[in-house]
């Protein structure tokens, strides 16, 4: 579905230029949930913005369903890292979620119902008529997740989507992501700096190096059965993968047994 080849990006030019992406090659097939981890400031958001067509990379290309991404592709949703600034403060929470749904041909009633449903999923059924600035940071983040969920895109890009919520809610949202992906066959790219989370949620974990970002590891996560916050996390495979990813993020060599 998504083919990224030799993607590079440099911010600015001259002596102050910053090379953020140093040649990324990545293929994602339909329905896959790929987690991207990497040190802070390495270029994760830059990668995501080039996939979303919000940034024209200085080199390489992104191909989505056979067509190179130049403009923002259709049927895409993004949960921005800077969630608070991506909600419109002049609209109620429900309006924020239902505004994009008009494009999907949903009528007014249907849009309201979809928005309510998405809000219930993220545990904010009571906040529909509130305004974004009346909510805490974590609640705003959940609203922006709800907006993306209600939109039901073919490709969903999530940039550290669970960064501002408490541990319990975070686990609920992780499970919600897994469920939604299963129901609607979405392809999801999820950026996180939480190693445990990447292994728990992902079908694959892609590890980026420090800037300029390159892929230093691409691990398939094969965990048995439906995932479960308690049991999955104590499974030996989970523990092994977590250690693996941790080493990669810290820039250590992987043990030869698990190179993919």
């Amino acid at each position: 579905m998504l083919e990224i080849s030799n993607l590079t990006h440099t911010y600015g030019s001259g002596p102050s230029a910053h090379n953020a992406l140093g040649g990324i090659d990545l293929n994602v097939s339909e329905g896959e949930l790929v987690c991207i981890v990497g040190p802070s400031g390495c270029g994760k958001s830059t990668l995501l913005r080039s996939i979303a067509g919000l940034l024209r990379p200085t080199g390489g290309q992104v191909v989505l369903n056979g067509a190179p991404v130049a403009q923002t592709p259709d049927d895409l949703a993004v949960v921005f890292q800077d969630y608070s600034r991506s909600l419109f403060p002049w609209m109620s929470v429900a309006d924020n979620i239902s505004l994009p749904l008009r494009r999907k041909g949903e009528g007014r009633k249907q849009r309201a119902r979809s928005a309510m449903e998405a809000l219930e999923q993220v545990g904010l059924a009571g906040a529909a008529d509130k305004y974004p600035w009346e909510l805490s940071g974590g609640m705003q983040q959940r609203v922006s997740i709800a907006r993306a969920l209600a939109y039901r895109p073919a490709l969903m890009l999530m940039d550290e989507p669970f960064g501002s919520v408490d541990a319990q809610t975070r686990e609920d949202l992780e499970d919600l992501t897994l469920r939604v992906r299963g129901h609607h066959n979405m392809t999801i790219l999820l950026i996180t700096h939480d190693i445990d989370e990447s292994v728990y949620v992902g079908d694959r974990v892609v590890v980026l190096s420090k800037a300029p970002a390159r892929i230093v590891g691409d691990l398939r996560v094969d965990l048995p059965g439906p995932r479960d916050q308690i049991n999955t996390r104590e499974h030996p495979d989970f523990v092994r993968l977590r250690a693996e990813v941790g080493r990669l993020v810290r820039g250590m060599r992987t043990s030869p047994a698990s190179a993919s």
Partner: protein, 285 residues
């Protein structure tokens, strides 16, 4: 609190606790308005001492105003024929000019703010036009349009469009990047971007422009009536000057001052409602 209780004996009936909020409201109004009577008294004393016909005392002015404008029947709020002949046309000019300028300023402003190409060509024109003092247009317009409503409206619109235009350009140009990106990602249509993102995001700026324009519109209304008009407050002002009637002249000035004050107050009330999200959002971040 006890010593101030006798100041408002009525409030004790409504709330048994001595109604501190009611008292505070009264105190706030007093603290805000006490200067008005003081100024009036000083004005009265000053004009009586000076005793020149050019500066009539406030009481003289008030008597004159009542005589001119407030001797009608109670059924029409005591307004005299003279008042009804002159106030409504002035207000109509003021609001029509302001509204036209507002709509034109917002439409043009959004276009200039969102189109880099258009802005590059039109910006110099805008700054040229803005630099022309609108009263200077009057002598130019008189041969073009014959004295009358058309000319007055043109003067007002030309004079007050700039704050709205420039503020709207600013507001539309600097919509939060993240908001525009969100609109792009979620495939908002052209109309949705305009009505649901760009315009709401620019309203704080647009309102700042509209408010400036409103006070300018009042000034330009008077100026346009001074030259080419047969009715209106400005016309009366001019007539009083010609007839060497200082109290009437001052009466017109007082009416304009009151009008400006009331308009500003009304505008502020509307702005508070429309921009409640803006005030609240700014407070929390």
């Amino acid at each position: 609190m006890k010593h101030s209780a006798p100041a408002s004996p009525k409030s004790s009936g409504t709330s048994p606790g001595g109604s501190p909020s009611g008292l505070r409201g009264v105190a706030r109004a007093v603290s805000r308005l006490w200067l008005v009577p003081v100024a009036l008294v000083l004005w009265e004393i000053g004009t009586r001492a000076a005793d020149t016909p050019y500066f009539p005392s406030p009481t003289t002015i008030a008597v004159k105003m009542r005589e001119m404008w407030l001797n009608g029947p109670a059924s029409r709020l005591w307004l005299s024929d003279l008042a009804l002949e002159n106030f409504p046309p002035s207000l109509a000019r003021l609001f029509a000019g302001w509204a036209l300028a507002g709509v034109a300023g917002i439409v043009l402003g959004v276009m200039l703010g969102r189109s880099v190409l258009l802005a590059r060509f039109v910006d110099p024109l805008v700054h040229f036009g803005r630099a022309i003092p609108p009263p200077m247009l009057l002598p130019l317009l008189i041969p073009l349009m014959s004295i009358g409503t058309q000319m007055q409206l043109t003067t007002i619109v030309f004079g007050v469009i700039w704050p709205v235009l420039l503020n709207t350009v600013d507001g539309a140009r600097y919509v939060d990047r993240q908001h525009m990106e969100t609109a792009r990602v979620f495939g908002l249509s052209w109309g949705q971007r305009l009505w649901r993102v760009i315009l709401p995001s620019s309203t704080p700026k647009i309102f700042a422009g509209l408010r400036l324009s409103l006070s300018l519109a009042l000034i330009l209304m008077v100026i346009s009536e001074l030259v080419g008009s047969t009715n209106g407050i400005g016309f009366q002002l001019r007539a009083a000057e010609r007839a060497f009637d200082p109290p009437a002249l001052w009466g017109a000035i007082v009416v304009l001052g009151l009008l400006g004050y009331v308009l500003n107050l009304a505008f502020f009330a509307i702005e508070r409602r429309v921009l409640s999200w803006h005030r609240a959002a700014k407070q929390t971040t």
